[in-house]
Symmetry: C2
Subunit: 125 residues, 2 copies
């Protein structure tokens, strides 16, 4: 399981090392292909594993399972286990995950803008 390690900045120019290391730390915790997609798919309440897999295009069960463990380890989600028959497991965002909402909003808005611009560029060719 991947745990969070603060980045090192000794080799970076002083001027922007704080900001670059912030970026590194963010990419370490929530970078990669899936984490932000999973956190986004969990908005709107508790989700079961299969629901998440259905909602996130092309993610395998193995990858989803590993990513959920990382997200739980880093404090973004909670796992609830109900020991009935059958055992039910669901996942929920923590309060801490709300600290990512500005980032998700800015990134989504940028993606929509970029898509529109790209469409225009292709149409203009």
């Amino acid at each position: 399981m991947k745990t969070f390690t603060p980045s090192h900045t000794e080799h970076e120019p002083e001027a922007c090392s704080q900001r670059l290391s912030g970026l590194d730390d963010a990419l370490y915790a929530i970078g990669g292909k899936w984490k932000l997609r999973i956190l986004h798919a969990m908005q709107g309440g508790k989700k079961r594993f299969n629901e998440l897999q259905r909602n996130i295009s092309k993610i395998s069960a193995r990858v989803l399972s590993n990513e959920l463990k990382d997200l739980e380890q880093n404090g973004f989600i909670k796992r609830h286990i109900f020991t009935g028959m059958p055992v039910v497991v669901d996942y929920e965002l923590t309060e801490y995950s709300a600290t990512l909402s500005e980032l998700l909003t800015v990134m989504s808005a940028w993606g929509i803008m970029h898509r529109e611009r790209t469409k225009e560029k292709f149409q203009a060719v």
Copy 2:
């Protein structure tokens, strides 16, 4: 070379499909381990290939070369070739890349906050 393809949203629930597809488009264009790090390392003026490789911890020449091609293809950077002896190639951010500055700022600030919180958590254990 990877070119940008707008994402498809047909299979997603209506309510958040616009935002999710924005996130997908953003992750497609600037996701992955390196692109935002490279764009950040290019702030402050033109950079040569070797300078970039020195400034970006642990990136291989092959990966850096491929990522720079993608970034150029997507309109974030320009490549200048000076055909003297020796040939000099440098890279510069485009005006369009400035559309990412809010995202870089929000992500860096979040990374710094997350690092501090993680330190506190470890110290408390």
